[in-house]
Chain length 275, copies 2
Amino acid sequence: MSDRDRLGIHTMTVKPWSLQECCSAFAAAHVPAITLWRQAVEPVGLDAARKMVDDAGLRVTSLCRGGFFPAKDAAGRQKAIDENKQIVDEAVALGAPAIVLVCGAVPGQSLKESRKQIQDGIAAVLPYAKAAGIKLSIEPLHPIYAADRSAVNTMAQARRMCEQLNGSGENHVGIALDVYHVWSDDALEQEIIACSQKDWLHAFHICDWKVEQSDTLQDRGLMGEGVIDIKEIRGWMDAANYRGDIEVEVFSTHHWARDQHEYLAEILEAYDNCM
Amino acid sequence: MSDRDRLGIHTMTVKPWSLQECCSAFAAAHVPAITLWRQAVEPVGLDAARKMVDDAGLRVTSLCRGGFFPAKDAAGRQKAIDENKQIVDEAVALGAPAIVLVCGAVPGQSLKESRKQIQDGIAAVLPYAKAAGIKLSIEPLHPIYAADRSAVNTMAQARRMCEQLNGSGENHVGIALDVYHVWSDDALEQEIIACSQKDWLHAFHICDWKVEQSDTLQDRGLMGEGVIDIKEIRGWMDAANYRGDIEVEVFSTHHWARDQHEYLAEILEAYDNCM
């Protein structure tokens, strides 16, 4: 498989585009895979979305995103579990084999409690996901998001959750590794190896870390615009036998304000350059 | 020792004040300890600074800050080593038993290389510091600063550096734990225990993590303004037999713009509330 055969792009990367625009443009550019964000699917509905993706000949890598399990009260936590089950149904309808989990956090609630609620939440959704054949991919988020977006912040922590949640030899719960979140982890290579030995490397997201960021959420860099040595991390993923898609996921108000066709051409070039 | 007997305040916390203003105000408020930033010392010089601190009856907890070892070329790295030796001399002159190291990073240089340069740099300064009786305290910085301020980003990583750098049973190189940088580490308690067993917990800095930050460097919260459970971390430090000063280190353009006497009163109240 050549690198281009493994390229996936998140609909959120080209946020201004409708799902139809994404599908048409990706197909025209021979992008083989797409990661669907629910926000892009919602306006057209599941059936129409599935048809667009299929007609364009795109492979769906995963559905973004489930998670957000912690809540102050039990009703809130149950609501999150119910919604995640619904997202499992959506993944089935869309032909997505996995759901990316942004696990959630409640400002002011202890991380210990949020982490417990995350584990309990995934455990509650897991049998339903398993029965549907949908994998759950925990995305450890950069510690800068620990207070309000995800209390799961390192590969080691996500791996320990996988250990708690999976049965022996199973990989229904795994990890979506996004270079933005884990690039500075000095144990990253060892963690990739450890996760790989259990077959827990579900997904590989790439973008870049800009030294100057105007916003800590929506000023991510396209590969090459920052300091992450993506080739090195890609090498570790290769060595660990990761053979899945390599997904371009960039949140950038700067790039979203541009002509998205020009931007897509740059994405392809940036992808080739970092492979 | 009561909690107030362990209170230290960084000159940088009340940045608008001159060193004389810091000393007078801290003494008047019965703050027993001060951490000197070189920027506050520089305008008056070492001798006058020492006299101000002594006359005010303040204990100097440490000198901030050394480090910044990585550089693109050997000359730059040697310059950093020379400067850190000079900072050792300054610490001796000021009566500071330790230097806080913000280890440095070079945008675009691999973290692996920067980490090697940091370790080499500390190793080069260590005999000089040891001979002078000055401890070197590595401060792991939040991963958000990995690209440009410090390639040492977790307690575990700092602990491994201490292992490499200290002789058996020695603690000349240790760790300055700042809650802002490590609060989300799910292994924090275990790391505190592991470091304590080697007597490597040199310093304990407190402030808070605000969920909304207008700036990722200078919008830190005073204790209670954010989400860090300082009492819990303090409990871990107590249990690990840390008996040193508890230093308030807050960078905040918001608080710096205020009347610093009013702010100091709030610092004392916030300190008492989180003990």
